[in-house]
């Protein structure tokens, strides 16, 4: 293993390289570009054997992703914001075709007004399209999750695509200490991809046909069943990784911080949870029994794990880095639905849209407002 101080984008590229994808269709977009630039360097320098396809748009990138998956090889791509939005048409085709590739999403706000900074509106808007979505907090977690996600997605009981979501700039452009695992160890953990669905002249098949009203629902139900199988597998693969590499992130689905005797807690995704740990520490010093739940897996949503993690709580402050215009924060909707009837006071706070800072002060306000029975709101 190599320990280094590395930009998260570079770390993700190293993580992707370790997974040995054979095809990388790519189209650059801020703040994702550094990831595929580094991968292009690796291929150019002969450090990595992969075909990089320079396509003319993100829509084409994901279309080429399908072609590569249909050829039966491990595939990787990365995007952000409008890039993911342009891929939208293809997102449910990848998942409906049951193609288990991995994409990194450097989360960025959606225009307009144009904004290149971080929030979760790109990935969260795409959450219903059949991709496993894991949000990470650190550079190290980004590497480790990429390796784990291929193993989860490629499991023949699952066969779904997955996104590793990293906060744009807030994580993608930050340099942190990280351990890059040895290739040999990753090869042992993640063996060569064995496709279940692929185009093979020896055994011809048709991929992507029409399904009439008499069969379409059954195929959608199969995808949901695969998501249900993915849920425990995310935990299992996480534990297996932890055993082999010595690093863990809660139970792989969510992580709890100072929750043992907590009466109130924050829940959020991505880098804001790093700041939230400090906010929790400060409030603990003030004598307040508070904790943090870092939600890692947005889809599949770990409902039972969340119920268990919150069973002793009186109140929960949900920090959404996205807003469903016309209603409320989507993480709030999911959290409240999962905890329906549990008697916990749940409040919604909208924060960090378009790169607005989520600082300790704002997170403490969210917790204090929840403790004091005030309503949630926008942490401007």
């Amino acid at each position: 293993m190599t320990e280094m101080v590395v930009e998260a984008s570079m770390a993700l590229a190293l993580g992707a390289k370790l997974c040995r994808p054979k095809v990388i269709p790519m189209y650059p977009i801020t703040p994702q570009t550094h990831i595929v630039e580094r991968l292009a360097d690796f291929i150019n320098n002969g450090e990595m054997e992969a075909e990089m396809i320079h396509v003319e748009s993100e829509h084409s990138a994901l279309a080429a992703f399908i072609g590569s998956e249909a050829a039966g090889v491990r595939t990787y791509t990365a995007t952000s914001s409008q890039g993911l939005a342009l891929m939208y048409e293809i997102l449910p085709i990848v998942s409906g075709n049951r193609m288990p590739g991995v994409m990194s999403v450097a989360n960025r706000a959606l225009s307009a007004p144009i904004n290149i900074w971080n929030d979760h509106s790109d990935a969260v808007s795409a959450r219903d399209q059949g991709w496993i979505q894991l949000f990470v907090e650190s550079t190290q977690e980004a590497i480790d999750t990429t390796i784990q996600l291929y193993k989860i997605c490629e499991n023949h009981e699952v066969l779904l695509p997955g996104m590793v979501c990293i906060d744009g700039f807030t994580l993608s452009h930050v340099c942190e200490r990280a351990i890059v695992p040895e290739q040999e160890a990753v090869d042992e953990f993640l063996p060569e991809y064995k496709p279940k669905i692929m185009l093979d002249p020896e055994k011809p098949v048709s991929i992507g046909p029409i399904a009439f009203p008499d069969s379409f629902m059954e195929f959608k139900k199969q995808q949901q069943e695969a998501m249900e199988k993915a849920l425990p597998l995310i935990g299992k693969v996480h534990d297996e990784f932890a055993k082999k590499f010595g690093r863990s992130y809660g139970n792989g689905l969510l992580e709890q911080y100072r929750m043992d005797d907590a009466e109130y807690a924050l829940i959020g995704m991505g880098t804001l949870t790093g700041t939230a740990r400090v906010a929790v520490d400060e409030m603990r010093k003030e004598g307040k029994k508070v904790g943090l739940i870092k939600l890692k897996s947005l889809r599949p949503f770990p409902k039972e794990e969340l119920i268990k993690a919150t069973e002793k709580l009186q109140g929960l402050a949900v920090i959404d880095r996205h807003f469903s215009l016309g209603f409320e924060g989507p993480l709030y909707t999911d959290t409240r639905s999962a905890l329906y009837g549990k008697g916990i006071r749940i409040k919604n706070f909208i924060a960090g849209l378009g790169g607005r800072d989520i600082d300790i002060k704002r997170l403490k306000k969210a917790l204090n407002d929840t403790i004091n029975g005030k309503e949630g709101g926008w942490l401007l």
């Binding site: 409906g96 075709n97 049951r98 193609m99 066969l159 279940k196 669905i197 055994k203 011809p204 098949v205 048709s206 991929i207 992507g208 046909p209 399904a211 009439f212 008499d214 069969s215 059954e218 195929f219 199969q222």
Partner: protein, 87 residues
């Protein structure tokens, strides 16, 4: 019905199993007395749903006829009538 993973089709020609005649609202009915066996309906049918039998007569394959009515429109002796499909 079998639901292959990812809706993948493993056998060639399986589209034949999809009896698109079920979509039909109007049913072409051929009057063999009037028919002059010119084959115009056979030429024009966009779904190859007009078949020629051993006797040289034309017949409509209701498994695949979608009831578009082109045959009735093109028939030079008006031997095909479109009737409301009743099931």
């Amino acid at each position: 019905m079998k639901f292959n993973l990812g809706a993948v089709i493993h056998e060639p020609g399986s589209t034949k199993k999809n009896k698109t005649g079920g979509w039909r609202a109007m049913r072409p009915v051929l009057d063999k007395e009037k028919c002059i066996k010119c084959g115009t309906c056979w030429v024009y049918c966009p779904d190859n749903a007009v078949k020629k039998n051993e006797k040289g007569e034309f017949e409509i394959d209701y498994d695949y006829c979608k009831g578009c009515g082109i045959c009735a429109n093109e028939c030079p002796v008006k031997a095909i009538k479109m009737e409301l499909e009743k099931k």
